[in-house]
């Protein structure tokens, strides 16, 4: 395989800086890799190859011009190619959200998270596949066809950021952006053997992240290592006047840790995250990874997050309720798909029915019911109260420990079509990732081994609000001593 495609983000940036590699060469190598593998993986909905090569040449010209002006500081990510999930807007590039209803929608504005990386110099090669409006755990619910797992193309890449995870795993790009409302960065990261960060709610702007569950939605990064994810993550973060829920935090730029150990790190292992029905190899690999963190100096404590079992029903009432309100905007009038109809009511009903896929309709129906007169208190109201108990579980746990370590998913990647007619079985895939979104705390997924079929196993670590730095450091230490994150799928 082309050596340029196995470069880490740090190495790629070094090569770009010292002139041994141009952005055009690197971007072209990515595009060629996409062309080579896309028929098997289908990671992208829209490719922007020509624009990317243009941007790459512009980045190269800027770098060369800077030689004559040594005082000028160049943007930190100048010329680095990345992919963006098709749920984050890029002005002038169609944004489908995996839905037929937005098939021809070209947003006139760029998401803040993306804009900040563009300002830092990245080159965008395309928009990646997603479950429709991020509703799904397999990237099968896309109106543009499913994405397949590079480790085994008979299996799903996870979802909803499955296109981004598969693109990174298949070395089509060194990193990609995703979104995470209930596990949509971490679960596909685990299934595809890459590293993914779901930030604290409020850390990264949601402006231009097409709304699904607004109290849960976050934008994150998928890459080959914690270090690579961190390099892209920090420029995205921070207060944005266009998103009132973002928070100004003291500049917590992450530096590669100087310390060689994790001495004194208190690691909580919640008993509720190791279930009898889970794949034994997942538990085995995750426990082995926890032992390794202990060998590196961490202290392991068994803890309890007693309301964990309620996270799934809470999530599947709150997220659909928020979705039913957010998706009311798709009415066939101002933008998006429009059915021909004789009356306004029919226009709404037919545009929405033909434009939305089955899972989106199902969640809109569920959310509408949970919010409807007579049921609001019993469903939505009760769910928001139990959510408070789940948040308190985390608050209490983080009094005793610095991080919490768990599996990302109960199993490794499942087969394409396995959960097709059983939405509840699909929802259970998210059982370990939903609680972080409900509590707003950050979570990071990274590979800790492979099962007997050669499929990646992921571990999740969580920390208290705004402690992404700690998550990056812990995973960085682990990755200094392991090479799971550098393994290549046999397909490559």
């Amino acid at each position: 395989m082309d050596d340029r495609l196995t470069l880490t983000v740090r190495q790629a940036l070094q090569s770009l800086q010292n002139g041994s590699l141009s952005s055009e060469e690197l971007t072209r190598a990515c595009i060629e890799q996409i062309e080579r593998l896309e028929s098997k993986i289908h990671a992208f909905i829209t490719l922007t190859a020509e624009k990317a090569l243009e941007d790459a040449r512009r980045a190269d010209a800027r770098r060369i011009a800077a030689h004559r002006h040594p005082d000028e500081t160049l943007p930190s990510l100048l010329g680095l190619p990345i992919a963006v999930k098709d749920l984050l807007t890029v002005a002038g590039v169609r944004c489908t959200c995996g839905s037929r209803i937005l098939e021809n929608y070209v947003p006139p504005f760029t998401a803040t998270a993306v804009q900040r990386l563009v300002d830092a110099g990245v080159v965008i090669v395309g928009k990646t596949n997603t479950d429709e409006f991020a509703m799904g755990s397999s990237t099968e619910n896309s109106a543009y066809g499913a994405t397949f797992n590079p480790w085994d193309t008979g299996r799903v890449p996870g979802g909803s950021s499955g296109g981004s995870a598969a693109a990174v795993a298949a070395r089509m790009v060194p990193a990609a952006l995703g979104t995470d409302t209930g596990g949509s960065v971490r679960q596909p990261a685990a299934f595809c053997g890459v590293t993914g960060i779901k930030p604290t709610y409020g850390r990264v702007s949601r402006y231009g992240l097409v709304a699904y569950g607004s109290s849960l939605d976050t934008a994150g990064v998928l890459a080959h290592s914690a270090e690579d994810a961190a390099i892209l993550f920090w420029p995205m973060a921070g207060f944005d006047p266009l998103d009132a829920t973002t928070v100004e935090q003291p500049p917590s730029v992450w530096h590669t840790p100087e310390s060689e150990t994790l001495k004194g790190l208190r690691i909580g292992v919640p008993k509720e995250y190791f279930l009898p029905g889970m794949q034994p190899e997942v538990e085995e690999k995750v426990r082995a990874a926890i032992r390794m963190l202990a060998e590196l100096g961490g202290e392991v404590h068994e803890i309890s997050l007693p309301h964990t079992e309620y996270a799934l029903p809470v999530y599947y009432l709150i997220a659909p309720a928020e979705a039913s309100a957010n998706l009311a905007r798709y009415d066939g009038v101002r933008f998006g798909y429009r059915a021909s109809a004789d009356t306004l009511g029919e226009l709404f009903n037919l545009s929405r029915s033909r434009g939305f896929g089955a899972e989106v309709k199902r969640r809109i129906m569920l959310g509408t019911y949970a919010l409807s007169a007579g049921y609001y208190e019993a469903y939505y109201g009760q769910a928001q109260k139990v959510r408070t108990l789940i948040r308190r579980d985390f608050e209490e746990a983080f009094q005793q420990v610095d991080i919490i370590a768990t599996p990302v998913t109960p199993t490794t990647a499942f087969r394409v079509g396995e959960h097709r007619d059983d939405p509840l079985a699909m929802y259970l895939e998210d059982v370990f990732t939903l609680p972080t979104n409900l509590a707003g705390v950050p979570g990071l997924a990274f590979p800790v081994g492979f099962d007997r079929q050669g499929l990646p196993v992921g571990m999740q670590i969580m920390a208290s609000h705004f402690r992404e730095d700690l998550l990056f450091s812990v995973a960085y230490h682990y990755q200094q001593h392991t090479d799971w994150h550098r393994r290549l799928p046999p397909l490559l």
């Binding site: 089955a358 509408t368 009760q382 109260k385």
Partner: protein
């Protein structure tokens, strides 16, 4: 609990969705199964527990009240499926 077909139709109307007969039957089964699963929340004692309205402590940072340019009309209408002389066109609302 099992939703009735009439309830499914009522929810679909509230959600502005037109469902086929087949979809109504399928959603009736699937939504009933999901709501059954969600029923376990009723066991949790939530007396004196406030609902979560925000995962972070509320702040009230307001932006400066300064006029800023908005997107031009033609840019907004570029995505409209049926624009007409600077308007969004819809079927007649009143006969």
């Amino acid at each position: 609990m099992t939703l009735t077909l009439a309830e499914v139709e009522h929810i679909a109307q509230l959600a502005r969705l037109h469902l086929s007969e087949e979809e109504k039957i399928r959603f009736r089964e699937q939504l009933s199964a999901i709501l059954d699963y969600a029923a376990r929340l009723q066991q949790v004692d939530t007396r004196d527990i406030p609902p979560t309205s925000s995962v972070l402590p509320p702040r009230s940072r307001l932006r400066e009240d300064e006029p800023r340019p908005a997107l031009p009309q033609q840019v907004i209408l570029a995505n409209a499926p049926f624009p007409y002389q600077g308007y969004f066109r819809v079927p007649p609302v009143l006969e």
